[in-house]
């Protein structure tokens, strides 16, 4: 990991000093061992702050949205899951490939800095000291799927299957039980929209939840409006979620959002597949459910 960190720093420094990129997205160290945070670098000098370590968990492809307007060339570091986010943005025409310099890192799985700070905060009980972040126990693509330069040695997928088992369990529930399961989880939602903000597939310029005229979703923090928020977001994720798990990781009230997203990914694959979002970039290709055709056999889609 130290070797990779050094190389990332060198690459960033080289790209910035040679003018190949204007901005480079990586990580820096905060004031605790477990605090690694995203960093936006604009000069070779600033690149000295860059680190890559076992807490570099954030999906930096999301930060590309800050640069989508304009002509700046952006370099960034991606792990396997993050690279799918880059493909998402390319497919959605949010970025052109020639504005990107992608440094891929084969990822052995990360630890979660948020869990670590919460565990040490004195504010929460029973936060387990897992070896790997939850999202890294459901990792089908540890190796970057799009890159200009690749670091590290290829890693094996790590799908523990717990999430899939839970999805199966929910599929087998009666509608009432299922409703109750989600009601209980969404009841906790504080509507901070961190799930949306951390999501690379949430790249609409004006989000439906921010629209005022008409206001599609009410702002009350109650069963109806919370449910509406999460269900509408879920539908928008179908066929688009790249399963990076950031929404679930950043949720301050621990809502198991990836159960929903993975179920929808599974359905998209079964109904419209074989299909997995963001695993291969081909110019002009579109995610399932993003194609509109006049000869669509289903009138409902017209």
């Amino acid at each position: 990991m130290k070797e990779i960190s050094k190389k990332v720093k060198e690459i960033a420094s080289r790209l910035l000093s040679e003018g190949q990129v204007d901005v480079f997205l990586a990580w820096e160290k905060g004031n605790q061992d477990y605090l690694t945070r995203p960093l936006v670098v604009r000069s070779a000098e600033e690149a000295e702050r860059i680190v890559f370590d076992e807490y570099s968990i954030h999906n930096l492809s999301n930060y590309l949205l800050k640069f989508r307007d304009g002509n700046e060339k952006v370099g960034l570091v991606v792990k396997g899951c993050d690279s799918r986010g880059v493909i998402r943005l390319l497919e959605d025409n949010q970025f052109s490939r020639d504005r990107l310099y992608i440094v891929g890192v084969c990822c052995p799985g990360m630890k979660d800095p948020l869990k670590a700070i919460k565990r040490n905060s004195g504010l929460l009980q029973n936060i387990p000291d897992d070896d790997k972040a939850d999202k890294c126990s459901n990792c089908a693509y540890p190796n970057p799927l799009i890159y200009d330069e690749l670091l590290g040695s290829e890693q094996e997928p790590n799908v523990k299957g717990e999430r899939q088992a839970k999805i199966q369990e929910i599929e087998n529930m009666s509608p009432d039980e299922r409703y109750e399961f989600f009601r209980e989880n969404f009841e906790r939602c504080i509507r901070c929209y961190a799930c949306r903000q951390a999501c690379v597939a949430c790249n609409c310029r004006v989000c439906i939840f921010d629209e005022m005229r008409p206001q599609w979703v009410g702002r009350e923090n109650n069963e109806t409006d919370n449910m509406m928020y999460h269900l509408v977001r879920a539908y928008h994720m179908a066929g688009r979620c790249v399963e990076c798990g950031e929404c679930e990781r950043v949720c301050p009230v621990d809502i198991p959002l990836m159960l929903i997203n993975s179920k929808l990914a599974k359905d998209a694959n079964e109904f419209f597949g074989p299909y997995e979002a963001g695993i291969k970039y081909e110019e002009g290709s579109k995610p399932a459910l993003s194609v509109y055709r006049l000869d669509d056999p289903d009138e409902g889609f017209m």
């Binding site: 930060y63 905060s121 029973n126």
Partner: protein, 338 residues
Amino acid sequence: MKILSKDKVERVLDKLAESAEVFVPLSRANSSGFYSWKTRNPEKEQLMLETLNVYLSPKNVGFPQTEKMYSIIQSGTEAQIKETFEDSSPRIIFGLRACDARAIRCLDDVFLTRGYEDSFYKARRDNMVLIGQACYEPGPNCFCQAMGVDPLEPEVDIVIRDCGDKGYIWETKTPKGEELTTSISNLLEEKELKAPEAKAFQTQVDYEGVAEKLKGMFEHPIWEDLSSNCQNCGICTYVCPSCHCFDIQVKSWGEEGYRFRCWDSCMYGEYTAEAGGGNPRPTTKERFRNRFLHKLEFFSERYGYPLCTGCGRCIVACPTGINIVNIINEVKEASVDV
């Protein structure tokens, strides 16, 4: 002095809950916050009086995330108020810390002073009794003292001091507290106990002069840099005990409807969206700057003390590691001649 022995805490809460809704620090569904004692599920949820604090602050007790204000009925072009939902039922917050008590003072100043009394807040606040717990051991992200809060003397009606196995010292501070103490006096004992030694703060920060310095830093390049990794969610504003922005909206169907208010966040684009389509805070930088200037400068100018109480919750909750202590330090160090 009056002592509350630890084996009587639950009895005291039961007794208080007979005549008021008592909000206590509880663990709940992998999180924690102040919840009504009556709603506790004893099999799953623990009273968290001996941890540092809880994750969600008691802000929602006096200022709920969603509060129905009044219902309306329309007849022709006229609208009439059918019912107003001011809620003055008695409430007690038990075991809040000095940082959260200070945050309630911030809300009091905002909602009840400077020429306007918010009747919805006032109804809740007038019938609220605060039982605070003194903090003797600051946590890794605590810096209340630097923000002018005394962790040993929460600004409340009754203070309890944890003396270990021997129980809590029970100190009544106000007439409201006196009344409550009388109502449970049979559950308290008369005994002498010594309060523990206060431990040192792990986080040091110097707020001195920051509000003044920020006056000249609105256009400073520091905001671009500090906000560059902010993802613009609203976690910090919602876990914050003192952030108090709200929106008033209406829900209606046919000729009926109601107005409600709900927490809003200056981190959202919609917060400053204008009817004509403009937005004076179009990007993360302007929103981020506003939040920290409000915490560290604007509120101080108006009320004489900062809006940050040093509880450290935003530091723990921020998904991208933004730390208000670092921000204060950066502001301190920033050169203002640029």
